[in-house]
Subunit: 345 residues, 2 copies
Amino acid sequence: MMKKGPLTIKDIAKDLNISPSTVSRALKDNPDISPETRKLVQEYAKKYKYKPNALALGLRTQHTNIIGVIVPELANHFFSGVLSGMETIAEEKDYHVIVCQSSEDYQKEIRNVQTLIKARVCGVLISQSKTTTIYDHYQELLDNDIPVIFFDRICTGIDTDKVVVDDYSGTFTAVEYMIRTGCKRIAFFSAPLHLEISKNRKNGYLDALRKYQIPIDESLMRIADTKPLGYDKAMKILQEPHRPDAFMAMNDYTASGILLATKRLKLRVPEDISICGFSNSNISQDTDPMLTTMDQHPKTVGEEAMRLMLEKIENPDNVSRKNRIIKTSLIVRETTKPLLNDFIS
Amino acid sequence: MMKKGPLTIKDIAKDLNISPSTVSRALKDNPDISPETRKLVQEYAKKYKYKPNALALGLRTQHTNIIGVIVPELANHFFSGVLSGMETIAEEKDYHVIVCQSSEDYQKEIRNVQTLIKARVCGVLISQSKTTTIYDHYQELLDNDIPVIFFDRICTGIDTDKVVVDDYSGTFTAVEYMIRTGCKRIAFFSAPLHLEISKNRKNGYLDALRKYQIPIDESLMRIADTKPLGYDKAMKILQEPHRPDAFMAMNDYTASGILLATKRLKLRVPEDISICGFSNSNISQDTDPMLTTMDQHPKTVGEEAMRLMLEKIENPDNVSRKNRIIKTSLIVRETTKPLLNDFIS
């Protein structure tokens, strides 16, 4: 107890050598936590005069019907689709949505959380920024009884409800489809691999290759999740001696960069190179040829996440955890070849 | 004074047969209003016990550093660029931005305003929805001393600072450019004409035609401001006997729809048909051929609007009005022809 300033949940967790989320739940007398641990935490908190964040609590005395959403970027077809799904469900019950963007910046995401607390939101839906690896600001929301739901880019380090896209199956389906059109060297361009979404996509990619006994080649896996990165890395890999004949891209932006590179190199799409995007964003129909891609059903993701949030707000004592997985759909357009006869069922 | 409920600024305006904004300013003793009118309004307000909106005032007793932004749609390159400009300037002075989208819906825009008041914002930046023709909700913000700045789609009915894109000159420049490449029948696809932005664009279009003595043909002017509308209306007009040889589009989405129609009709772009978009959005580099377009410098629009907002917040007694006009730049890509020799200087 050498620390200056008020005692936090994190301090208690450290002092007692248990997780902050256990402390938080023990303080709320959550039955998931053993009676011994609850007693231990509650007595410790009492002894050292633990007080929940006063600022946030003070602000929350006036209840609002405002729900905050934090997205990595607003100029993204997927997130704007998610938001419109969220708004539809919220407005049915007279809740209103305000949005902050983290711009993929951990520090800004912390400020987003503080801003939403000040704006007295009654819940926060979050898709994690790529650079966030510490979760205290999420925990602060929970500590102040502001429910949190993660969507798409979820945080496994925080115990709360989550809605994810079925990235594993989506990628498996897309890669399997390209294999069935005759592709044999499929490159995999993904976001950084510390993100759950990237791990799941990579597993889908690897399992599809394994199913068809296609050798796994680490040199075909690159970190590229924007149009310029897609372009640059495709330019390089396509000029290597044993070039890929297909690309599984992180999103349609990356796919459009790969497409541009193939055109500059006078390679034919899809005859020489197949490309599959992810998102079914509006650019996927503006490229020529139009992109084959996976529809992630962003409206459904947003609707489900908001439904979970409203349940939480309306039944704050229900401590069960829910995970929803939203299925994806393959949208075949012009950047992939027709199925080989062997595979047409 | 037959009305139930508290007396509003609007009631006073009606009773005295003057504008709500005059009443509002008279109540604040603004020197722009004549001493006689100020006295009249103030005595009337006193006599009938006028009180500024109590809810909003109550909420505003705790000052925040949150600034609200209302945009018609988030999934739009221009608005997301504007937002990033606003955030940059706001964060320099430790203000934070929360965003609502009106989805081009007047009723939703009203709810956005109420939500932002509840979230205790200290200012609101607005780009008006296409369906908004009544302005009481804007006036309510001003009546509660929450400064309002309009950007891009401004409201001329409300007396406050504004930041606009130079739509007139932008359109004039683009149309003039296509004339100088040899185009003679230039179609004009715009948003609904009650919007200031459309009026200014149309004037730019007409003045460019007049400068080069090109006859004005009403049949070439259509309301089309989305990709599907651009596609449908281009499909029709391109199959009429005396078809256009160029299109000036409201935005890049519309331009991409026009481009798709020309391709389906096997017309060559730019040899047979020239197309100019507006916005320099990311899709303008995903189409093939890539779009010639006008860059609206969205970041600059956002930065300027936020600078005006911070000035207003920090100097609430400064009642001077500011209008900023942000210049556009022509970005020549592949959907327009080269300049004719006569016009190369």
